[in-house]
Each structure stands twice: as structure tokens, then as C-alpha cells.
Symmetry: C2
Subunit: 326 residues, 2 copies
Amino acid sequence: MGELSLIRQFRRDPPGHPWLKVGPGQDCAILRWGEGRDLAFKIDQVVEGTHFLLDGPEASSPRRIGWKAMAKACSDIAAAGCWPVAAAVAVNLNRRLDDAWAEELHAGLAACCARFNFALAGGDITTSNGAVTVCVSLLGEGPADGAWLRNGAKPGDWLLVTGELGGSRGGKHLDFIPRLEEARRIRALLSGQKPGAASPEPRVHACIDITDGLARDAGHLCEESRCGVEIDEAALPVSAAANEAAQRDGRGVLAHVLGDGEDFELLLAVEPQAAAALLKDWQEATPLRRVGTVLPEGAGRRLKHADGTVEPLPDVGYEHRTGGSS
Amino acid sequence: MGELSLIRQFRRDPPGHPWLKVGPGQDCAILRWGEGRDLAFKIDQVVEGTHFLLDGPEASSPRRIGWKAMAKACSDIAAAGCWPVAAAVAVNLNRRLDDAWAEELHAGLAACCARFNFALAGGDITTSNGAVTVCVSLLGEGPADGAWLRNGAKPGDWLLVTGELGGSRGGKHLDFIPRLEEARRIRALLSGQKPGAASPEPRVHACIDITDGLARDAGHLCEESRCGVEIDEAALPVSAAANEAAQRDGRGVLAHVLGDGEDFELLLAVEPQAAAALLKDWQEATPLRRVGTVLPEGAGRRLKHADGTVEPLPDVGYEHRTGGSS
């Protein structure tokens, strides 16, 4: 089980380059590329048995697998406040899959590129007897005023979340829309506020996409930013799928909203005045809501119930189905 | 067996972007990034059972697997005449591998980055029960006078090759040195010729790295450039490993030199006058030799033996060991 060890190795004193501004440990690496715009660089993979299944009642179609692989990498580009420019894809097929399967996989990948107007620039295809893997590398264009990172949240910041949470396993985990347009709109609205104001400071202090569940990913944001957090239960945006899942398994809606994961929504820590104005101006189809507040580190991570009582934020989160059924 | 179908899909009318100069079908994609240098973008993977083994007498150490994964992607960057800037790596581990194994894999990846002074900018790690895959995405800096492609060879060009060929399975396929420094030196020597000369035309007309064997990769160059080729048997640089392999299996040295593959040497088509001057000026430790001539398309692909007789270039080449022993 060398996974955690390998993650540590990647983060510990990696080989660098003068153009590298942000290395391992963020949603994307950020490079300064000559005189051009900053560049976001991301690699991400989906693995049969972990992120999708090819057999059994929960089997996924190749088109949805392709979409998910590409959209999942896009979600990280969105969390960095960037926009995708080009993708390269490495696929390890299994020899029992036929041409039609491969064509549908490609259609899913290409559909996501076409939806957000970026290039499918290259690929590397192999075939083996083992699990199917689809690995996506993305290049994104960085904004002039800097990419969003995970480590800048400040006490007092409002915690905002796009969309609705929970129940992703009901289907959303395969055909979610990465929040690229929402990230761009947030940036546009914030940069439009106070035109000509003196402060050039970014008002999104930190951002992460919710893959492990709100509780764990809020925890990641706190850890990287060295802060605490209070999540407001009454304000949580509950998806219909979370309600359905709760009715089915009796675990309660809150557990699904906090811990199901693979929501691929954005969690942002935004300077309070800017956040209030942003919510007031927000008119998009995708909801944007305040779900809590960033606290000083000593305050810990807590959940405020509707009745005003407070308890530690539960450590619930998505467990990838490693060793799945196929 | 959807592999060929998927490769066709990638090449057929892929989603584009205004910054994309060269898309699928080359060693790297090439993008223009703002006002900065051109950017080479590559994804490449090594898969257990296909590119390396974990069990049996031919099992590879994790350090050599890491080196191979990174060096193989570097070889494509070299073939485009570019230089690596940053890598991102996706690893799918197997749960029977321990921390020490993962650390050695990382050491092999990082050693290649350190050797050529580029960043290990990010990673994505998963664990499954299946085959180990290591997928590398590389960003390279493009030269001011344009990347080398596969499709510009012209009749009359000299075919040059770096290093020696054949017998890679004896060990070189795991610890070869990607020909980045040789590519840079070739570029420097060629741009140093005729200083201030009127012609701004590139003198390397095409380049490819030899992964499938000289015969097949010369064929790829011909196909992309719509030309023929004559390979001169007497001029072929035979590695010691090719001689050893021929003694062992009795298949003859020529078959190994033309077809073993995974040589990771560069095959270049160079304008004749420039090529002659280049060979005269070449003083590097790595040999650079003329092995043939580019011909008009109608001349086909042929092999000239030492006695002057000519036959069609044999269609021998490296078969990846898909479905290998582990």
C-alpha cells in the first residue's frame, strides 16, 4: 500500500524549474510561460473498479466514462480559476473491448472538449489484459490576476459552494458539468466590483473542488490555509439525489451531503464584503450559496446545527471503491 | 481490440483551439502560448506486462520503471527538438506493493527530472488490484525556429541516427538516456552553420524517435512525409547488445538492428549539405551516423546490402508484450 508514501514523496522537495510557480499539493501546478499567460498543468486518471465499473448493475457506458475522465480534470482547472486550452489522453484498453466501445469512449472525451472549446491535442493508447485506465492531462490558461489556490483562506471569509451536494453515486459522478463557467463568472463579477478601487488583492482567497465530500474537502482547505471552519447545517444545499439516497439507506441526509463526495462542485473562501456582493449579483442557473465561515485555526472544524448547537465536523468522506467488482 | 480504432478517432477531426499548431499524429502536440515560446505537450504511459514486468526472471526494479516512464516521454520531446520544463505523473499502484517500492519508483522518476533540470510538478496516485501503470505528461519548451515534426522529409535528405541500434531488451530499454542533449547539440550546430545566411529554412526536415525499430519508424517517417527511403546495411550502427542477442537466438544481427525497437535513438532527415557539415563537426560521445537517404515516394522503402544488392526494407518491428507474464 505505497499510495500515501508516494504522495508524500511527490510533495517533499521535488525537482523544480525557474518557471514553476506552484508545484505539488494544489489542484493544479502553475507555471509562468515566457511572456504569456500563466499556465495550469494537471494530470488525473480514472481507473476501472475505482472510479467506474464495466460489469454488473452499476456498469458505466464508455461515453460516460470518457466524459467523466475529461470533466474530472476540468474540475481541477475550474478550482484553480483557470480555463482549459488543450488535453492529452492516455488510455489503457482491455483486449475484450471492441471498436464500438473505443469510439464511444472517444466521443465522451471529445464531447467535453467541444463543450468548453478546448483541444484534444494528443493521445497514447495501449491494450492489456488488466483494468481499463483513462488518464487525462490538461493545460489551462491562467487568469492575469493569479490562479486560485487552496492555501489562502483567512478567518472571517465566507465559505461559498456551487450547486447541490450529496448522492453523486446516483449518476452525477458520471455526467456532472465541471464548474468552469461558474468559476469564470465568479471571477468576472468580483473583478467588476469596485472598479478602479485601490486594492488589487484577490477576493477569492482559496478554492477546492469537492471530490472527497464537503467535510473532508473543507478540512483540506483548512489544513492548507491553517485555519478553522464552521459549516452551517441549515444552509447546506441538499440535492434531490441525496434525499433519495437517505430514504433508501436510512443514513440521514446530512451524512450524504457531507460525505458522499464526487460532487465536483466548487468550495470557495471569499473575502466577506466581496462574497456578500457576489451572492447579491449572482443570477446563474447554478446556485451559489454561503455554507459557512472560515475561523481561526484554534477554533477547529465544527458543524452548527439548525437549533444552534455546535459539534465537531464529522470525519466522513468518500472512499474510492478500490478493489471493486471488476 | 479497440486500440487502432481509438487511434483513428484521435486523429480524425479532433476538437481544436486557436493556440494549437500541431495536433495528434506527431511525437508531441505543439501549442503557441501567448507571446512566450512554443510549447510541446506530450502524454505517454508504461504498463505492467507491456513495457515492464514485476514478476519472473525479467522483473524490473521500481527505480528503473520510474526512470523508463519519464525517459520515454522525454524521448518524444527530444524528437520534436524541444526541451522538457515540467512533468506531471499519474500512477496506478497495486496494493501488494509497499512503501519502499513506491519510494524507489519516485526516485527513478525524479532522477530523470534532475538529470535534465525540469520540474516534477504534480501527480495523481491511485491503488487498485490490477496492473501497475505509470503515465507521464510532459511540457517542453519549443525552439524559436520551430519544433521538428515527422512529416517534412524531402528526397535527397540524409537519414541520420544517434547512438547504436538493437538488443534493447538486454537492458537499455529500461535505463536509456533520452537524446535531449544530442537534439540540442544538433540544433546548435545547424543554426551555427552559415551565420547570417539568407535562408531561414530549418535544415532538420523531420525527426522521430526509434521505438518500434528502425525499419518501422523509418516507415512512419516515410508515410508522414510521403517519401521513400534507402537504408544502407553497411552503415548501420550495431550495438554490442544486438550482437549478443544474435549469437543467442541465431536470428542474425540485421533483424535485431532493424526490428528490436525501444532503442530510443533519434532518426533525422537532414538537408544534405547541412548533414555533411553536421557529421564533420560532431564531437559528442554519442555517435551520429548517416544510415541512408530519403527517396521519392515512388522508390518505395528499400535496404541496400553491403554487396550492393537491394531488397525491400523488411517489415520487422517491436511487438509490445501485451498479455505478458504478470
